[in-house]
């Protein structure tokens, strides 16, 4: 947990959950596992607020609790991990992906679950149906069954998963009497590491839920409201047979999807559309057979690939073979050959693809900050590993003086390291080789921390800009509210223009400029997050192989 990560987590918590949760959360991040009394004592916040904040953090999966380490009877300890909080940056991307894959219904399901942390299936379906009904025309409403089917599909493809039942601390059964009881959730002894949701066999099992009805629209009419209130009370008190089974969004599955997308778009950029379609087919076929941390997919024969290609791409068999050969020969090594049976066995090299994508990111960072000649030196060092000063100048074909300058700039920014190789055991300077080198993994880590710092700076700047213009923003909000109420009650255009003129022209300009700045800062956060995702995936992939 580096200082940059903690700072960014604090800002994200403040924006989404308020300042109290921010204080409690950053305290937990900096201090490790603590019990309730320690937190209250050290943060100085009142007991009830701390309790509420912890409830919020646990609800959203940011905090885990377990019984104390000093044995039975010691107070429960709470621990926060910054990974989960940093995911908040990526929420818009998750919601957008759900929209592209499963339409508006899927989008709203994911959005509701992200907002609430975790919810039961019936609760989610009802809320989403109500929201969809709001946006439909008069007289139409969304049926629960449609939302249910979207929910099933999300669970089938593992985008949603059940929250793991709690083990240790207090023995609980997450299943209610009505639900078909999953075969005994193991009452595990207190384990040191929190169990992953996937370690439970019923992770993706959808309970049998009786949920019949349609979404409700909030109407302004009186009579309809009374009836609906009566009906709503009856509906809400019904149990739907799945209390206690909470669902949460499976971030890892989304990350796999993003990774696949990154590989496919890289192939499309480097080669052409057809090759990317071939790689997309290969990835789709190996979705279920490949584990998330695998180095490469299971080998697929060329015949299988040929049969599974989408029908719109009717390329003849020999052309497919040529494309596959091209993909193998490409220096990026996205696809590798694993054998000759079945017309050739091919794999997609996940880890190597991620490493290459990370390398491309590093190179482009150097290029944009220091110029294309420095980037040439950087790429040279990545390729050739260790080079002396003289060799750098020769290979890069850059005059000595400028090459020196650029090398020293890169060295001072820590993108290039100096490696000493002594000829004699006493490390005498005149008898030592000094070689320049680039290590990809540590450099990637350093850039990742820079990215966190960047996003934290963007968020702070955005908060600062909003705070500066707080009065103006409030005034404009009030005027919008007045306008809306006037329009709803049907006012003449003169009244509306009169109210609109309460904001003067320079104020309007100021508001416009403010809106532009805030949009830019927000958009920049989203885009830095894409880089963060690539670098994080690369670093995680090396961690799992090493």
């Amino acid at each position: 947990m580096t200082a940059q990560e903690v700072r960014l987590c604090g800002l994200l918590l403040r924006e989404h959950f308020g300042e109290v949760v921010e204080k409690v959360g950053t305290h937990l991040l900096k201090g490790g596992a603590q019990n309730l009394r320690t937190i209250i004592h050290e943060t100085g916040i009142s007991l009830d607020l701390v309790k509420k904040s912890l409830c919020v953090l646990v609800q959203h999966g940011a905090c885990v609790f377990r019984s104390g380490r000093k044995g039975a009877g010691s107070p429960t300890e709470y621990q926060t991990c910054c990974d989960r909080i940093l995911r908040i940056l990526r929420y818009p991307r998750y919601i957008y992906t759900a929209k592209t894959l499963y339409g508006d219904t899927g989008e709203l399901i994911i959005e509701e679950l992200l907002q609430r942390g975790h919810m039961t299936m019936s609760g989610t379906i009802k809320t989403v149906a109500d929201r969809l009904t709001q946006n439909m025309e008069e007289g139409r409403s969304m049926d629960y069954s449609e939302v249910s089917s979207a929910f099933f599909r999300l669970v089938e493809t593992h985008f949603l998963q059940r929250c793991p039942p709690l083990a240790g601390a207090e023995p609980k059964d997450s299943a209610t009497p009505a639900a078909p009881a999953p075969p005994g959730t193991p009452a595990a002894p207190v384990s040191t590491a929190p169990p992953t949701p996937e370690s439970f066999p019923d992770c993706y099992k959808v309970p049998h839920v009786t949920l019949v009805g349609r979404g409700k629209r909030q109407l302004a009419s009186e009579d309809g409201e009374d009836q609906r209130n009566a009906k709503k009370a009856k509906m809400d008190s019904q149990t739907h047979g799945d209390e206690g089974i909470c669902w949460q969004v499976n971030f890892e599955r989304f990350h796999l999807h993003f990774r696949d997308q990154a590989i496919i778009s890289a192939v499309a950029n480097k080669l052409d559309q057809t090759s990317s379609e071939i790689v997309r087919t290969m990835l789709r076929m190996s979705e279920v057979t490949t584990s998330p941390t695998a180095t490469c997919t299971k080998p697929l024969s060329a015949n299988e690939i040929f049969r599974s290609l989408p029908t719109s791409y009717n390329i003849p068999r020999p052309i497919l073979d040529q494309y596959l050969t091209l993909l193998i020969d490409d220096p990026m090594e996205f696809v590798g050959k694993a054998g000759e049976s079945g017309g050739g066995m091919y794999v997609v090299n996940m880890h190597r693809a991620l490493a290459n994508l990370a390398r491309a990111t590093l190179e482009s960072v150097v290029q944009e900050r220091f110029g294309s000649r420095s980037a040439r030196i950087f790429r040279l060092l990545l390729r050739k590993r260790h080079l002396e000063q003289k060799q750098v100048e020769d290979f890069a074909m850059i005059p000595a003086k400028e090459a020196k300058d650029m090398l020293y700039t890169l060295l001072s920014q820590n993108l290039v390291q100096l490696q000493e190789i002594p000829k004699t055991p006493d490390y005498a300077p005149s008898r030592t080789f000094y070689l320049y080198t680039v290590n990809q993994l540590p450099t990637a880590r350093m850039l990742l921390q820079n990215c966190y710092k960047t996003v934290a700076n963007l968020v702070e700047r955005r908060l600062f800009e909003s705070k500066e213009s707080k009065r103006l923003l409030e005034k404009s909000q009030r005027i919008e509210a007045i306008l809306a109420s006037l329009q709803a009650s049907g006012a003449e255009p003169e009244q509306l223009t009169e109210v609109e003129e309460m904001i003067t022209a320079p104020e309007k300009q100021q508001l416009e400029a403010l809106r532009l700045h805030i949009n830019k800062l927000d958009s920049a956060e989203n885009q830095v997050d894409e880089t963060i995702f690539l670098l994080e995936s690369y670093i995680n992939s090396t961690a799992s192989t090493s």
Binding site: F65, T76, E170, S430
Partner: protein, 226 residues
């Protein structure tokens, strides 16, 4: 050690200068005497952000999500956010916010028992009896948290006549002792106080029951009456 320093040692460095490429006669960059500037001049301007339909949609999603989170019960604020100028309508707005906060009941089975927050009793109170009941139960709730001296003080205060002055003192005492009130309790106590005060429109000390009215004017007849 003895040979360092002085003119001869000016250009000594820990590594061999030839190997790294600094030849004699090259001018080294001036040594840095102070921290680098906070916003150094950029030689290369950064690339513009990618702008497209997808990016705009992502931006809209992000801003909507943030706005939605602010209105959810998960968003905890210690006290109602103060606007730049106190407005009359704040009195009515604060009660709306507190209601949203208590609507959320998490699934207590998934949380440790110690995090359970007991909801304080609510409900309109206008009679002195129900108010004293509320204060009693409020005191029971606060007993758990506060120290014993405060406890004793509260009990002695409660035994006094339940007039307006004692209640005001109690409330002031409670407010002094605690660092941060629960917003519901605070909102309700303030509301009750104001409601009680609203029953009589005039501050008590200004009340003149007219006994002295005739007396003064009779005594000084030589003063002109305006």
């Amino acid at each position: 050690m003895a040979g360092r320093g002085g003119g001869r040692g000016r250009r000594m460095m820990t590594f061999s200068v030839e190997a790294v490429g600094i030849t004699r006669g090259d001018s080294l960059p001036p040594s840095i005497q102070q921290p680098t500037p906070l916003f150094p001049v950029m030689e290369q301007k950064p690339l513009p952000l990618t702008a497209g339909e997808e990016e705009e949609y992502l931006l809209a999603l992000k801003q909507e999500f943030r706005g939605a989170m602010k209105s959810l019960p998960c968003f905890i604020q210690p006290t109602a956010a103060h606007r730049d100028v106190e407005r009359y309508s704040d009195k009515y707005h604060s009660s709306e916010q507190t209601e949203a906060l208590t609507d959320w009941t998490p699934d207590w089975k998934r949380l440790p028992k110690e995090l359970r927050v007991k909801k304080p009793p609510r409900g309109g109170v206008s009679a002195a009896v129900s108010r004293s009941d509320k204060l009693q139960s409020g005191q029971k709730k606060k007993k758990v948290k506060e120290k014993e001296e405060v406890l004793l003080k509260l009990e002695t205060l409660q035994k006094k006549e339940e007039g307006q002055s004692s209640e005001d003192e109690e409330e002031e005492g409670e407010e002094k002792k605690k660092k941060q009130e629960e917003e519901e309790a605070e909102g309700e106590e303030e509301y009750d106080e104001e409601e009680f005060e609203e029953e009589t429109d005039y501050v008590m000390s200004y009340f003149d029951n007219g006994e002295e009215f005739g007396g003064d004017s009779d005594d000084n007849m030589d003063e002109a009456i305006y």
